[in-house]
Amino acid sequence: MALTFKDETFRDDFTFSNSPAAIRRFPFPFVEDKYMYSVNIEPHTTGPEGSVFEFPFDIDEHYVSEMRDRAMVLQEDPARCQALPHMMMAQWDMLELVMMSMARDYPDLFTLTRDGSKWHWVNRPLKIEQTFTFGDASTLPYEPMEYIGRQVQGDFSIQDQRDNQLWMDAGIITSQADWSLDFDVGMNFFEWHGPVPLAHEAGVFERALKFLLNLQISNPVRRLNWTMTINPRLDTSPENYHKWGKDRTTVTPENVGQKVHLRVEMQGLFRLPRSNAILFSIRGYLLSLDQLVTVPKWGRRLHRVLKTLPEELIGYKGLSRYRDTTIEWLSKYDDGAPTSRGGGPD
């Protein structure tokens, strides 16, 4: 698939939108007409051609603009990228995994040439060319995680594994759905999952942790998560709540379709071989409701899912203020017809 990169913004005038092809590959997360919380982990293996699951790190038409937005966030707030000193080996592990994957999966866009520890990296869309020594951070303009993190879509955190726990000891997080790296860095698995309602009771996290502690090299896994965002804003961090929190009050029956976006995160988990750490990738996709209802099945289903969403989750996902307006708007697109199973468009 030849990619044409869009020139668009995720702030101020919000010119972001999806092309028809990008709409059809949007990872719509609801496989039935009702919402169920589950950890729904599956192997992160090669998915259908052209889908967001085709490659470990999906690059799409928003790549160049997203990387520009990330650079702006880091410029304003360098604390969005942090790594504790013992994470250096894991940083190199991440750089290697991402560069190798991108060069293999998108040979027209990226090239990696390795001669022992002398590496040469070419990133054509961002016009970057870099020769460096693998393992020697002084040969890169940033530390390895930040260097490659500025060139790959999605947020990343790296978990160190100690005492049968996972500790979030590094991360580059500029487009998170309302959680803070500055607050979570150094926390363990249960601490950073603290606020999710309904999940603790089910023992879900204990099982998920055990699963992750045994995560195998070369066997990454993934899951989908979702929320909703007003305006196609990538940076909805707690630090910037003053900038985006008030957006939630601006939704009216007239502008629902343009303002309200479904935001889906494809979360990938990779065992890093040298450091034994775990790389967590959070790759976000945004779709306005105007664009979402161009797929009739999605319009019907989102309407039904929102209607049956438990109260606790509505609060947790920050939907309270505009849920009713949104349901009302979506009802025009739900004629009551049955929907097919699975998330894909018909």
Partner: protein
């Protein structure tokens, strides 16, 4: 998920490194690069001996960054074993083909430690070979205390001393030498971590000594080369499928299930990773828990069993499978 994807390898080199220990060098069958790994990792080696299938975990010894080959060392447990190690010694030679799993690390060095004390007994040296490689490359402070029966029985003594110098201390049992664990552990500064691998009595002794000296539990790590202990035959009933399967005296439950084509989850097959945890619906008598994973409370409850290691003395057990 049972186990992980397997990779075919060829034996490129075999060396007798001590009386009952052989070192094997394994390369990918197509010479493709192997995965890098972290110090302390092991792989499972799958052996086909006649119509028997054996899978034993063996620690990786080489340099974690060498992707051209993996090295393992195997102690010949002789005729009193069910045969995996004997098979490696008698039937595997240069050119033999085997299958291995991807590396798994249940014994990693703690990256926050200010110093690492490594305590090895006999074949328990193997995970420390890769660990020292890694610690040395990272300029971490470590010392090894390695007890062997004699120079002939102990592998890699000379090699380790020449490579790591005074950081390596070897103790020869036949010369009456003992690891002076109390003084070693008694004189360490805060933030030091201790790792022990060797025969069970040695591990117990090291863990107790550390505890008596007031070491925090999270600074003490051990790996035991457990294999499922034999016992008497019994019957496993599977609640979901209604099947009944006999477990022979020299088999683990997991092995019996596999023999009958039941796909049960596992990774380490040594009672450490937790992957094979299985619910118990009912059971005649007590479970002999031989794993290192379940908590005391879980054992007492009798509701869970690690099927790679644990068994019952006789009768039948019904599993939630």
């Amino acid at each position: 998920m049972s186990g992980s994807l397997l990779r075919r390898v060829r034996v490129a080199e075999v060396e007798q490194v001590a009386n009952r220990i052989k070192r094997f060098r394994l390369v990918d069958i197509d010479n493709a690069p192997l995965s890098e790994f972290s110090g302390g990792s092991h792989i499972s080696v799958v052996m086909h001996s006649g119509d028997r299938l054996m899978r034993n975990p063996y620690s990786l010894m080489g340099s974690p960054t060498d992707t051209s080959s993996y090295q393992i060392s195997v102690l010949n447990c002789g005729n009193d074993s069910r045969g995996g190690s004997k098979f490696m010694h008698d039937a595997v030679s240069v050119g033999s083909e085997l299958e291995i799993s991807e590396p798994l690390n249940l014994f990693p060095p703690c990256k926050l430690a200010r110093k690492h004390i490594l305590v090895a007994g006999g074949i328990g040296i193997t995970p420390f070979m890769s660990m020292m490689n890694e610690l040395d490359a990272l300029h971490c402070d470590f010392e090894l205390h390695y007890g062997v029966r004699s120079l002939e029985e102990g592998a890699y003594c000379k090699y380790l001393q020449s490579r790591y110098g005074s950081r390596v201390n070897v103790y020869l049992q036949d010369q009456g030498q003992m690891i002076p664990l109390e003084s070693v552990l008694g004189s360490q500064r805060l933030g030091t971590h201790m790792y022990v691998c060797g025969p069970k009595p040695m591990i117990d002794w090291a863990l107790q000594t550390a505890e008596l000296l007031g070491w925090p539990a999270e600074n003490v790590h051990s790996e035991q080369f457990s294999a499922p202990p034999p016992g008497k035959p019994f019957v496993v009933k599977l609640a979901k499928s209604g099947r009944e399967i006999e477990v022979r005296g020299h088999q683990s439950i997991l092995e019996a299930l596999e023999e009958h084509g039941v796909d049960a989850p596992f990774l380490c097959r040594g009672g450490a990773c937790g992957q094979c945890e299985t619910g118990v619906v009912s059971c005649d008598g007590f479970i002999e828990h031989n794993d290192h994973f379940l908590t005391e409370a879980e054992r007492v409850s009798g509701k869970k069993i690690m099927i790679c290691m644990s068994r019952i003395p006789s009768g039948s057990i019904t599993l939630d499978l």
